[in-house]
């Protein structure tokens, strides 16, 4: 079963771009929320990660803050 992956990002953040690129390269489907434009999703991100830095990646409930390749790999089981 594919894991549910949600990315909380801003369009201008370089590490958000790199993180999404990394997911795409590994053929991982994900939902992307622009937290700069979507206040409700921004609150959701803050609630989940207890902080305000982007990107935040939710991989089946495992919360990864920042473009932390090792943690992402581990959570995805790559």
């Amino acid at each position: 079963m594919a894991k549910a992956v949600t990315v909380y990002s801003t369009p201008t953040c370089p590490f958000c771009i790199r993180a999404k690129q990394y997911l795409k390269e590994n053929n991982i489907q994900f939902t992307d929320h622009n937290v700069g434009a979507d206040e409700a999703k921004a609150q959701e991100m803050i609630k989940k990660s207890d902080q305000m830095g982007v990107p935040v990646i939710d991989i089946d409930g495992i919360i990864v803050v920042g473009f932390d390749k090792e943690k992402i790999k581990e959570a995805l089981g790559l």
């Binding site: 801003t10 369009p11 201008t12 953040c13 370089p14 590490f15 958000c16 771009i17 790199r18 690129q21 622009n34 937290v35 700069g36 434009a37 206040e39 921004a42 803050i46 207890d50 902080q51 305000m52 830095g53 982007v54 803050v65 473009f67 932390d68 390749k69 090792e70």
Partner: protein, 301 residues
Amino acid sequence: MPYDLIIIGAGPAGITAAVYAARKKMNFLVITRDIGGQAAWSGDIENYTGYQFVTGPELVSKFEEHMRKYRIDSKEGEDVLDVEKSGDAIVVRTNRSRYEAKTVIIASGKFSRELGVPGEKEFKNKGLTYCATCDGPLFAGKDVAVIGGGNSALDAALQLVRIARKVYIINNTPRLGGDAVMKEKVETSANVTVLNDSRVTAITGSKMVGGVTVSRNGREESIAVEGIFVEIGLVPNSGFAKTVERNANGEIKISARNETNIPGIFAAGDVTDVPEKQIIIAAGEGSKAVLSAFKYISQQL
């Protein structure tokens, strides 16, 4: 068997060094916290030859693609704690392991300078950030403060005036520095308040940032803000190179051949005292450092 070479860092200098080392068929290792360094944070780049316009992340993925064309042994997300000469070998200790090489190139770049005030660590990423480009959009309609008075502070402020309700610029000198054009734009923005001669003494809040305490005209005042953007410059990431000679700014002193004071240890890019910090200069320095290291090894035989 020790490596021929260990490259510390994978920004423009480290990645270029890796490409050159691979083409020299050296037995080498790259140890780095991240890929791209400061270039990954850059917005628009219009002065890297061959690219009339490219963004930081795009250029970095081009760099990375070029490096990965060769089979490269790399340790990502690893922090170097210590580099030391021990007999003929150079020992690199990290938070995970210990490595030995005949030569080392330090290309660890720079990182954002911290304020060093109470509350800074506690509220990092909880309203306090060092990347306006990344986190700015989260502060739509809120009151925020930019700390600093140079170009990077002005750049952050100009990004934020379009997003935030009110932007305070807290600058510890008598007037703003930076480019005249940017200064004028900032000073004529309706929602900007510039506080000169003002020093931040604390960051306050409960769960997230709620305010900043500023000392000005001999008294302290609190300003209610939900976001704080620290833009007070960069410091070289050279703390781990304890035995390598550095200048007063912490930059590693190098010769025109990228040699440090310790034979076998070379350095390249923004972590060094090379005049001018540019992506293209860092890349050039990275290639020079490898050629010097290669020559050094051949002369040791």
